[in-house]
């Protein structure tokens, strides 16, 4: 357990001394997961609204499938993205395997079911009357969707935060499609994995603490935004 104590001390030290590599790795983690979460939100929030407002056959089945994908293993997504973007794969021509782009794509796939499913749940919480009133006042469908998303914003934001949490904390996909290249695709989680295998436990613990600090700052910022 002494490692944890030393890890905390080292975390403080790395932060105070503004260690260049640690800052770079943290910024990269934040950037990759932030972009993934943003892209996923742009896709999933409208899509969730569409699914919520349409009644069609198999809707329950679809929602069940989406919820099943909450348990999507990160390494499986990693494997899928690897095979997809490997040079001999269907999208190999793009040459983006072992780049941050591939990592973003992997994380979008990973996070999207979560955002989709939780947003649908969030929207279900909005009373039908709000929708009816808006329609009777002549709102078009885009305005209705926007209104409902606004009504459900607390729950939707919680979904986005959860998605971000899944993205920044995963390692299986990041290491498989990113390759853990120093100064290019190394993130906090892949660095922890590497440093642990090197026996650098204190550094790993310090990096873990820094990841949680980054997450704390993001959450505080988003909650501020929400309270406005």
């Amino acid at each position: 357990m002494a490692e944890i104590e030393r890890g905390v001390i080292q975390a403080v030290h790395l932060l105070v001394s503004l260690d260049r590599e640690v800052i770079e790795i943290s910024a990269r983690s934040l950037w990759i997961s932030g972009i993934s979460c943003l892209l996923s939100s742009l896709i999933c929030l409208p899509l969730a609204s569409l699914i919520h407002f349409h009644n069609f056959r198999g809707k329950r089945v679809l929602i069940n499938i989406i919820q099943t994908f909450f348990s999507l293993p990160t390494v499986l997504v990693g494997l899928f993205v690897f095979v997809l973007f490997s040079r001999t794969g269907p999208l190999g021509e793009l040459g983006i395997l072992f780049t941050p782009t591939a990592m973003v794509i992997g994380q979008v796939i990973l996070v999207s079911p979560l955002l989709l499913g939780l947003t649908i749940s969030a929207l279900s919480g909005v009373s039908r009357e709000v929708v009816d009133t808006a329609i009777s006042l002549g709102a078009d469908s885009f305005q209705v969707i926007w209104l409902v998303l606004k009504e459900a914003r607390y729950a939707v934001l919680a979904a986005v935060i959860m998605g971000f949490g899944r993205a920044i904390s995963e390692v299986g996909c990041a290491i498989m499609v990113g390759g853990n290249i120093k100064g290019f695709t190394r993130t906090i989680t892949t660095a922890i994995s590497l440093e642990t295998s090197k026996g650098e436990l204190e550094l790993s613990i310090a990096l873990g603490i820094i990841l949680l600090l980054v997450a704390l700052i993001i959450n505080v910022a988003l909650n501020r935004l929400q309270q406005r």
């Binding site: 972009i35 040079r87 794969g89 040459g95 072992f98 780049t99 969707i145």
Partner: protein, 307 residues
Amino acid sequence: MLQLTKKAKRIALVIIVAIASIVSIGMLQPKERIKVATTTSLSDTGLWEYLEPFFEQRYDVKLDIIPVGTGIAFEYGKRGDVDVLVVHDEARELQFVAEGYAIERIPFVYNYFLIVGPPDDPAHIRGLNSEDAFKKLLEEGIKSPRQVRFVSRGDGSGTHVKEKALWKAAGFDYNTVQKAGKWYIETGLGGMGATLLIASQMGAYTLTDIGTFLVYRKRGLDLVPIIEEETPILLNVYSILVVNPQKHPHVKLEVVNKFVQFLTSIEIQELIEAYGADDYGGRLFIPFVNGSQSAANLERGGENWLK
């Protein structure tokens, strides 16, 4: 039921553009870069971290070092996902070249494997040759699996392949070794360094290259060299494999050639030879190019041993 409006369509368009731009940002890489899949022993010892700046400064090319086991490195090479491999599994390397996946195999450094274990040597194998040591390890392991244990990489890496060859040389079929009981532990993940840490925690024996062992010993291992002999069967040669540009036209042959020249240049070979010797109390890697004659002979000997 709601219909898609113009606005909704516009949003969809924005999303598509956003994704496309992200993808293209990823492809707009300022510097030229080559991807190198490398065995974990070379990165766990810190060798790449040490050499990278020299290369990048001289050629203005970014080296993307992807540290993986030798097994998966071959797979990356076959698929053309990397430009060059640096691995240590001679038989598979030769096959890789023969199958046309690589155009060239250039040995550039070597060292030796050694069997390390707990200081009290519970299986009493000290002083034996490697074949007899493996025989005795199996016997003692089956007899008293609590005291005598062996940790295997179990991941298809170069070290794992060497371990299988050693079992074979000792007269055992590898499948029977795997099923011989609880004393035989396969880690399967994390590379050479992680395996040494596990063996140290468990008080077990393991097979390691000397470079990784020396580096990890300094970080604190409860393991000592038990069998340390510079024989052909324990020889460990690291080679560069250039992925075939005819199979994968995107391979940056010109840059890869610079990489090969760099690693085999006298200057860098001397740097490699000196690397870590003061810090870790022993030479981690021995250059192949300088005075390569004896090493080349040894390797040929090793080849015969394997057959």
